[in-house]
């Protein structure tokens, strides 16, 4: 079953600079906010290629060289007052540099890119399932949905679980049990699905989590839309680097994704997804 999905919100042609207005920390995460007066309002689940306008390169291993792909966390305002927010975690030379940026500095962006989430089927209960920095696209989706949502989020520890404040009403699981349930967010998902009612699942997180979400939903014939990531150089179909195996063969995640229907994914999809080259 493939959900009906609009083609995409198209991106302005070329890289543009956002002036950052805020830098906020949520435990292990940094949220950067910046005005994007020349950009369109993105669909939830779409992403941007980000880099700093200055000093991009010269970090660990003399990297980064390529921009990094990030789902938009949230938008504010519209038109010339449009603001974009991104959720970052420093895990490599690119994200380390991005996390250093502060209000007043410039962020170079290309986007919005890719295809986002499709609307839930009427009458279905909406479950948002996120892991780690992958909670980002679920926040904008929760903002935009006019239905209530059940939010299940998984984190490594309390330091990371501070990110749960970015969504409302989140039920949290942590690997070390320091916050919320001691266990996996996918255990919470199984309990929720088994509680009954027709549900639709939207998920984003590390590939092993998404693989379990896919399997858990498939066993129960629950539709799932999964936002994936893969190492990509460009984000607009030019490099052919971000392919993942799917029911349609190898597909470019930046063009056909990053949101895929669970039904077109397999464990092979997740063995490849997330194999970023960079960090």
């Amino acid at each position: 079953m493939t959900a009906v999905r609009g083609e995409r919100v198209q991106a302005p042609f070329g890289v543009r600079a956002l002036r950052l207005t805020r830098r906020e920390e949520y435990g292990a995460y940094v949220v950067l906010s910046g005005g994007d007066p020349d950009g369109p309002r993105p669909d939830p689940g779409q992403f941007y290629m980000l880099r700093s306008s200055e000093r991009w390169g010269g970090g660990a291993g003399e990297r980064p060289f390529l921009p990094r792909a990030f789902s938009v966390l949230r938008t504010g305002g519209d038109g010339e007052g449009l603001e974009l927010q991104f959720l970052l975690e420093a895990v490599g030379p690119g994200t380390e540099r991005l996390c250093e940026l502060d209000a007043g500095e410039e962020l170079s962006v290309l986007g919005p890119l890719g295809r986002g989430f499709a609307a839930p089927r009427p009458g279905h209960r909406v479950l948002l399932v996120g892991g780690g920095v992958g909670i980002a696209p679920l926040a904008i989706w929760q903002d935009r949905l006019d239905t209530g949502t059940t939010v299940l989020l998984g984190f490594r520890d309390a330091h990371h679980a501070a990110g749960a404040a970015l969504l409302s009403g989140a039920v949290v699981a942590t690997d070390d049990g320091s916050v919320g349930d001691h266990g996996l967010v996918t255990d919470l998902l199984e309990s929720e699905l088994d509680a009954g009612g027709e549900a639709e699942v939207y998920a984003c997180g590390p590939p092993p989590m998404l693989e379990v979400v896919r399997a858990v939903c498939a066993e129960r014939s629950v539709p799932a839309q999964l936002a994936l990531e893969a190492g990509m150089a460009c984000g607009f179909g030019g490099c052919f680097g971000c392919v993942v195996p799917s029911a349609r063969g190898l597909i470019r995640l930046c063009l056909e994704g990053p949101v895929l229907d669970g039904a077109e994914c397999s464990s092979e999809t997740f063995a490849v997804a997330g194999m970023g080259h960079s960090g």
Partner: protein, 295 residues
């Protein structure tokens, strides 16, 4: 600047390197703005082979200091698929179309050249000779005699400009370029990516699904310049130079060294409008310091 490259009458001397820009995908992403601000003076399409190819298994990319290594494996729809679905769209681009083709035998290259010779949408053909001839085991573009034999087969098939894309993984690219010229090539283009490798961290296994990959980006620019100068000394035909071009200064250097056109490759990944920026910077530099050592 109004380069007369192969008689194509291009608006400026900046084109794209094959396989670094998918105009059809980019149109989906950026809409008609792509056509209104098309960044290249001619568009070189991704390599077409006779049969469809899925390409190499992922992972396909590895970031390097000042560059990128890729192992994409030339995914494409094959000749039939290209003619049916890609060519009609690419023919609508606001610039001349150069089709890049590759075969694993001379007969396959001949099939491709013959098919495109009849298509008026195609302004010129670029021959990707960076693959092995499966009949001889030799990399076609690494050996002057192989290139001569290939050109002897395909040259009679078309009057369209034929551009031979040289491989940098050859002992003597200048000798290969000379052989191409003597066998009737209208131009040569260089450099293709340089073979490289990365290991999966902490293991002795290759990171890239294809084992080895091709290195590109600013890291290879000095190598490209040296090969360009060597090739310029060996041939009188037009040259398309590429390899790490990211600015007008880089492009001007290649033009000074004897190129007629400059191609932007990896920089397109960092900014899809890089070609327009390089062209505009080149214009400014050229008007300030015509051929006198810019900057």
């Amino acid at each position: 600047m109004n380069p007369s490259f192969c008689g194509l009458g291009l608006a400026h001397p900046v084109i794209n390197a094959s396989g670094t820009f998918d105009a059809i995908a980019a149109h989906r992403v950026f809409g008609d703005a792509l056509y209104e601000h098309f960044p290249f003076a001619a568009f070189v399409s991704k390599t077409v082979t006779v049969e469809p190819r899925q390409g190499n298994p992922p992972p396909r990319l590895w970031e390097l200091p000042a560059g990128l290594m890729n192992s994409i494996g030339l995914p494409n729809k094959g000749l039939e698929g290209y003619l049916a679905s890609d060519l009609p769209v690419l023919a609508e681009l606001p610039v001349p179309l150069i089709v890049n083709v590759m075969g694993f035998t001379r007969e396959q290259v001949a099939t491709l050249v013959g098919a495109f010779a009849a298509r008026e949408e195609v302004a010129a053909l670029e021959l990707n000779v960076s693959c092995p001839n499966v009949e001889t085991g030799l990399i076609m573009g690494a050996d002057p005699d192989e290139v001569s034999r290939l050109m002897n087969v395909v040259r009679p098939l078309t009057e369209k400009p034929l551009i031979v894309k040289l491989t940098p993984n050859a002992t003597d690219p200048a000798a290969v370029a000379h052989a191409a010229q003597e066998a009737g090539a209208d131009a040569v283009s260089l450099i293709n990516t340089i073979r490289g490798m990365a290991l999966r961290p902490g293991t002795d296994q290759p990171w890239l699904g294809g084992g080895t990959g091709g290195v590109s980006g600013p890291a290879v620019r000095a190598i490209a310049l040296a090969q360009l100068v060597a090739v310029r000394g060996a041939v009188g035909i037009d040259i398309v130079a590429m390899g790490g071009v990211a600015s007008g200064t880089d492009a001007l250097e290649f033009l000074h060294a004897g190129a007629g056109l400059v191609a932007v490759g990896t920089e397109n990944f960092r900014d899809p409008s890089a070609g327009s920026r390089v062209s505009a910077e080149l214009d400014r530099l050229a008007s300030r310091t015509p051929f006198s050592g810019a900057g």
